[in-house]
Amino acid sequence: MTSNRYVYGIVDGDPVEFETDAVAGADQVYTISHRRLGAVVSDIDTTDPEETDEDAQRHDDVLREIMDERERAIVPMQFGMSFESDRTLKNVLRGARPAFRRAMNDIEGRIELGLKIVREEDADVDDEAIEAAVDDELEPIAAQSVPNDLFSDRLVLNRSYLVDREDREAFDEAVARLEGDEAHDHEDLTFRYTGPFAPYSFVDVEIGAQR
């Protein structure tokens, strides 16, 4: 019998419950609620789960199931947020309720999409012009965007976009237009368009305990 709870994210309203391959071998995902806020959890026997590719993928799969199949908003947790008990979990749901509420308002009805533009090695491209063209196409459609790390000098652009569900098609079309745009030496550029993800990049909440 395990009493620790691995948390995937926070939902508002009706509880979520389904069977799936969950983190650490669990097969049931369910919801622990405090008032209208619910933590989507599965059972686990540690408060310090090991970080494996498989479990990271499962964590993300659970969020996708909730977002894509059920079209529910979920405030995503970072990997590894395992709680001692239902009590400690409800304590945090209660204590951090305003922060969860605000995060929920920010992301409700929205998804995250990622765009990386990579240039071929030795290709001479005008980074600024490309960035300006991308901004012109995508910023008006996106609700918000954030830059990500340019971890390679071949990365011309690396951004995450928060997009309303209803604007998703328009966004797909805009990316297709950018990719087809001959003015930007598209032969030398590779577009990596990824997602939809839970809006990880648009919730920045840290909860600590005063000791």
Binding site: D48, A56, Q78, M81, T88, N148, R177, F197, D204, I207
Partner: protein, 95 residues
């Protein structure tokens, strides 16, 4: 004719790991295991700006205060913020 669309790729583990290990809500281990007597501290960086209008309004209000301070026009600010209260008068203090 339908517009050409580009479907995003949802299968990249690297993209998932970039996000899941680095972003999302973080809860300190003490807050996850302690049952009694803990006070939660929440740090929020608002990534999503409410709206440009709200921001401009806010910026305008800040500018007004800064301007008043710079001009030494503090009387106006005091009028705004400090209401004379009977209980803080010298008389009641000596009672």
């Amino acid at each position: 004719m339908a517009q050409p669309q580009r479907r995003p790729d949802s299968s990249s583990l690297a993209e998932v790991l970039d996000r899941i290990l680095d972003k999302g809500v973080v809860i300190d281990v003490w807050a996850r295991v302690s049952v009694v007597g803990i006070e939660l501290l929440t740090i929020e960086a608002r990534v999503v700006v409410a709206s440009v209008d709200t921001f401009l309004h806010y910026a305008e209000e800040i500018a007004k205060i800064e301007q008043a301070t710079a001009e030494g026009d503090l009387e106006e600010l005091e009028e705004l913020e400090v209401e004379p209260r009977p209980e803080s008068s010298p008389q009641s203090a000596t009672e």
